[in-house]
């Protein structure tokens, strides 16, 4: 009798957990019921009861498998995608907010729309390197390595990106493909003599750097990893721009501080080194008025 009561109580629990979507817990309770039935002389030959419990366990397993296999990111309606863009773009700077919105779409698996957004930003010239790298990331997550490679080849034959940017993107793509275990030889960026003088305004001892990435070791943004396009390079001096709404960041990168473990993205490869912040000035005129220009003197690579 005690067994029967316990079975009833366990079955009630199992049913409630199933109704609440706690499938694993429900299955465990049904398994306990099954154990009790098999141990109990009165019920152990009750095939109907045993089959009934087994059937419930089987359907729970089926539901669990379905959940596991569920497409993680169904295509959402444009309205919901717009909402995602709106809710997850935090910057006051319009260009930065647009980029955040596009990144959010990618995080929520809305790759087609994210690709369209990044593509638009790329064409508009907004943080082109970041947009281009995100396009490649979307292709790698959404379709295939081939799609990412084809995209790179497409840029190579177009005029949207400069040679310095293309070399940077090539290094990036090579790096992520290698990490994915994809062995491939990406086409080299062919030097265009007309661009050469524009691209190589730097010391012959140091490669052209198109972007850098580093982790902040002090200040209000300590621990943050930041990536910037290099806007100007002269020898071992590089300049980059920080948006005016990132005042915390400006406070973290004050003149005199040393930045260690900087990742430099250049045509040859990604390499690391260190530098010292040499200046931080507010731009007073032009379209970037209010933003900050930061100078870094690279002292070791």
């Amino acid at each position: 009798m005690a067994d029967q009561e316990q079975m009833k109580s366990l079955a009630k629990e199992a049913e409630l957990y199933r109704a609440q979507g706690l499938l694993k817990e429900s299955k465990e309770k049904y398994l306990e019921v099954l154990q009790l039935i098999k141990k109990n002389q009165r019920f152990q030959h009750n095939e109907k009861a045993i089959d009934g419990i087994k059937y419930k366990i089987h359907s729970l397993e089926k539901d669990m498998a379905e959940i596991d296999q569920e497409t993680e990111a169904p295509e959402l309606s444009k309205k919901v995608q717009d909402l995602i863009k709106r809710l997850f773009s935090f910057s006051q700077d319009k260009a930065a907010a647009e980029m955040e919105g596009a990144v959010a779409l990618a995080v929520f698996g809305q790759f087609e729309r994210a690709l369209a957004e990044f593509g638009r930003l790329l064409k508009e010239g907004t943080s082109q390197l970041i947009a281009a790298k995100n396009i490649l990331r979307c292709h790698l997550a959404f379709s295939s390595s081939d799609a990412a490679i084809n995209q790179y080849e497409g840029w190579l034959s177009g005029e949207l990106l400069s040679n310095a940017q293309l070399r940077n993107i090539r290094s990036f793509l090579e790096y992520v493909l290698k990490k994915k275990g994809v062995q491939t030889k990406l086409s080299e960026v062919v030097e265009d003599p007309s661009q050469k003088s524009k691209d190589t305004g730097s010391d012959p001892g140091l490669l052209d750097i198109s972007s850098i990435r580093f982790r902040l070791e002090s200040g209000p943004c300590k621990g943050d990893i930041k990536e910037f396009d290099v806007t100007f390079q002269s020898g071992n001096m590089i300049s980059l721009i920080i948006s005016d709404n990132e005042s915390d960041l400006v406070d973290s990168i004050v003149p005199g501080i040393r930045l260690r473990g900087i990742h430099f993205f250049s045509q040859e490869a990604v390499f690391t080194g260190s530098g010292v912040v040499s200046e931080s000035k507010r731009i007073k005129t032009g379209p970037r008025r209010g933003d900050y220009v930061l100078g870094i003197r690279i002292d070791s690579t």
Binding site: K12, Y17, G21, E25, E66, I67, F108, G223
Partner: protein, 204 residues
């Protein structure tokens, strides 16, 4: 971080309902939407899977009217509880101002409560926020199931498991029946607005 428009005297803050999967976060928001329909400024948005599990987030924007001369707006979110949606949880938690942690009172979910709280602490830390400093309220949900003889964790044990170090306000609740939902939200809002007053000095 909350958005404070000093010129128009409008403050907008973000509260996130966090907790293990199937713990009742969405049910909390559904009850709030029904009970405070007048304050809801838009329809509640839910992005669920077929099995009614939260896939990305639920979103409910509300207007609380004027508090000390300032228009207060609040955006309520839930995160997906399932472990595999970690990147989504991180995204939803961005710029959060206050958190309601919805713990499941079912005995079989004891471990998941603890894991989810640890996950919250880690995801906040990634934003350089401390779980000990952010406005936080615990809710022990599904207390109504005690009447159905379903094994529940005693509140005292849940306090020991989840609130021994945090020592934040906690509320027994039944989101399904609506018990404790209002009190939980009110407390979290109170703590969040007090915190934002210290940070932004938005009250006159």
């Amino acid at each position: 971080m909350a958005n404070f428009n000093q010129r128009e005297r409008v403050i907008e803050c973000k509260l996130v309902y966090y907790g293990p999967g199937r713990g009742g976060k969405t049910t909390n928001l559904q009850h709030i939407f029904k009970a405070f329909k007048k304050q809801a400024t838009e329809e509640m948005v839910s992005i669920n899977t077929k099995g009614d599990r939260t896939l990305f987030f639920d979103f409910l924007p509300m207007g609380l009217g004027k508090i000390r001369g300032c228009e207060v707006k609040v955006q309520l979110y839930t995160v997906p509880g399932q472990v595999k949606y970690d990147s989504t949880r991180k995204m939803v938690l961005k710029n959060v101002d206050g958190v309601v942690f919805v713990a499941d009172s079912l005995k079989v979910r004891r471990k998941e409560n603890v894991l989810s709280l640890v996950d919250l602490q880690q995801n906040l830390a990634e934003q350089k926020k401390s779980i000990f400093e952010i406005p936080l309220v615990l809710q022990y949900n599904k207390r109504d199931l005690a009447h159905e003889s379903i094994p529940l964790l005693p509140v005292k044990l849940m306090e020991e498991d989840l609130n021994r170090k945090l020592k934040v306000p906690s509320f027994p609740a039944s989101a399904l029946k609506g018990t404790g939902v209002r009190a939980t939200l009110q407390e979290c809002l109170k703590l969040t607005l007090q915190h934002l007053q210290r940070e932004l000095k938005w009250m006159r």
